[in-house]
Amino acid sequence: MVASSLQAGHVTTVHRHLTSKFHSNEEMGQTVFPLIDENLKKNNYKIGIENNNDDENLQREEFEETPLYAAILTYLSYAILCLFGWLRDFLRQSHIETKRGAVDPNASLAFVPLYQSYESFYTRNMYTRVRDIFNRPIASVPGAQFELTERVSDDYNWTYRYTGKTISAINLGSYNYLGFAEKTGPCATNAINSIKTFGVANCNTRTEIGTQRYHVELEQLLADFLHVESSIAFGMGFATNSLNLPVLASKGDLILSDEMNHVSLILGIRLSGASYQTFAHNDMKDLEKKLRAAIVHGHPRTNRPWKKIIIVVEGIYSMEGSICRLPELIELKKKYKAYLYMDEAHSIGAMGKHGRGIVDYFGADTNDVDILMGTFTKSFASAGGYIAGKKSLIDYIRMNSHANTYASSMPAPVVQQIISSLRLLQGPEGKKRIYQLADNTRYFRQKLVDMGFIVYGNKNSPVVPMLIYMPARVTRFNREMLRRGIAVVTVGFPATKLLDARVRFCISAAHTRQMLDNALISIDEVGTEISLRYSTRHKSRRLREL
C-alpha cells in the first residue's frame, strides 16, 4: 500500500507502510539518519551501501522554499538590470555608443526587425556583462583536476583575449560521474588501439555498410548489462531522444511528460505530432489525475480514446537533482495500461548497486519499464545515446528511426571507450568506483546541508544543485571559486526559472576526499562572504564547527 503526503515546504516523501520504523509522517524536518552518518564517518564503503535499500531513504528529497527576502532582492536586481539595459539600448540606438552585438543589416531599410524578443535584450544587457563565467574553454581532459584556458576581456566581455596561460582547477562541473574521463588507463589504451585497427570514421550510416563488429558488440554488451533483451546505440544523446520519440509516438497518442524534462525530450515530443500534457514535477497524484482524465475523456473534441499513452520521465533531473518515483510510476502504468519511457542520461552508471541506473537503485524489474533510454556522455566518458528494451521494440526502432538510417555510425574510439568502461564497470574496479561515487555524494551533500545552504534533490543523486538566487551573487560565486582554484558551473535565467539561479556541482568518483574538502572550504569561505546561507530548516554553521 502506498501513501504519499505532500506537506508545506515541498518535502515530499512516500512511505511504503503507513507506520515507519524510523520516524513518523511529520518529522521530516531532520535530515540526518544517525546510522548513515556514523558509517560515513567510518568511511566504510560496504556498510554505507547496504543501508541504501530502505524505502524511506531512497525517495527522500528536499526542495526548500525560496526565502522571501531572496525573492525580493532577485526581482530588484533584475529590475535594476532592466533599467540599465534600457538606458544602454537607448544610448546604442541614438548612436552615442557603438553597437557591439549582432547588428541587423536591413534595419535601416525599413525591414521588419530581426531581433525583437526579450531574449536578445537579455543576451545583450545581462548575459554579456558576465559572459566570462559561462562557456569557458578547457585545455585538458576533464578529469577530477583539469586546466582551463585563461581569457581576459578589456571591453566588458564583448571580446576576449587569450593570454596563453592555463589555470589548474578542481573540476566540479563535468559529468564525469564514474571518473572514466582519463587519458591513461585501459579505456584510453583500448580506444587508441581501436583507431589502429578500424580507423577513425566509418563514412556511412548504420544501414549502409556502416555497422562494424564493435557496434554489434556494444549493443549486445549493453543489453546484457541492463538485463534487457536488446538495445540500439546512436551517435548523439540529444538525437536519441528527439529522433526516436517520433518513432514511438504519433498523432493520436498522448504523451504525459514531467514539467522539468530536458529539451531533447520536449523536442522529440513536439516533433512526434502526438498530443502532450505536462504533470507537476514528480507529483504522482497529478499524474494519476491526468491519466484518469485522459482515459475517461479521450481526445479533446471528439472524445475518441487515445491510441496509446506514454509517460516520459527522467531518471535523475539534472537541474533539480531529484530522482523519479519509479515504484509508483510502475504501479500507475500497470493500473492504467500506459507505457513508460525513462531517460537515464545522468543516472546510468551512477546510481544503483551495480550501476544499472534507477531500476537497480529501486530494485525494480527491468521488464516493467518499457523503454529505457540513456546516454554514454556522462558516466561512460564517451559520446552517444542508446535505447534498450524488448527485441520487438528495438527491431522496430532500427527500421524506422531517422537516427539510425541517416546519422553516421559511431566511430571506433568512441565505441571502444564505452565497451572498455562497461567491461570495467562489471568487474571489481567498477564496484570500487560506484561505491566511491556514492560515498563522495553523500559526504558532500551532507556537509553542504549542514552548513546551512539550500540544496535541492535526493540525498543520493550525484548532481548537487545549490541555490544562489541573485544574478550578482552567482557571478561573484563563480569568479571567487575560480580564483580559489575550483571550477563550477553556475546556471541562470533561461536554463532555470528567473528566481532560481543556482550552482550545480557534479560529484565524480575520481574526486578524492582531499579535493572535496578543499572545495568545501572554498564554498564555506565564499558562502560566508556573499551570504549564501539561506536555509531556515538547517542551522547555518561554519565548516570548522562541523
Binding site: 536586481s77 533584475y78 535594476i80 566588458y156 550578482a472 556573499i530
Partner: protein, 67 residues
C-alpha cells in the same frame, strides 16, 4: 589597535560588497555604478532633507488641530 581598525575597514568593504551584490551593481560598469549611486543618494538625501525641514512644522500643526 591596528587589527581592529583593519577589521573595521574590512567590515565596510563587506557592506559595500553586499550593496553591490544585492542591487546587481556588481555586474555593471563603473560609470553605471556611479550613476545609480548618485541617483540613489540624491533621492535619499532629498527625502531626509524634506523630513528634517517639514516634519516639525507639520507635526506641530497636527497637534494644534487635533487638541
Amino acid at each position: 589597535m591596528l587589527s581592529s581598525v583593519r577589521r573595521f575597514f574590512k567590515f565596510i568593504h563587506w557592506l559595500y560588497l553586499q550593496y553591490l551584490l544585492n542591487t546587481a551593481l556588481y555586474m555593471l560598469e563603473p560609470w553605471e555604478r556611479v550613476l545609480f549611486t548618485t541617483l540613489l543618494f540624491a533621492i535619499i538625501s532629498t527625502a531626509v532633507y524634506s523630513a528634517l525641514v517639514f516634519l516639525p512644522v507639520h507635526v506641530r500643526s497636527m497637534i494644534q488641530t487635533y487638541s
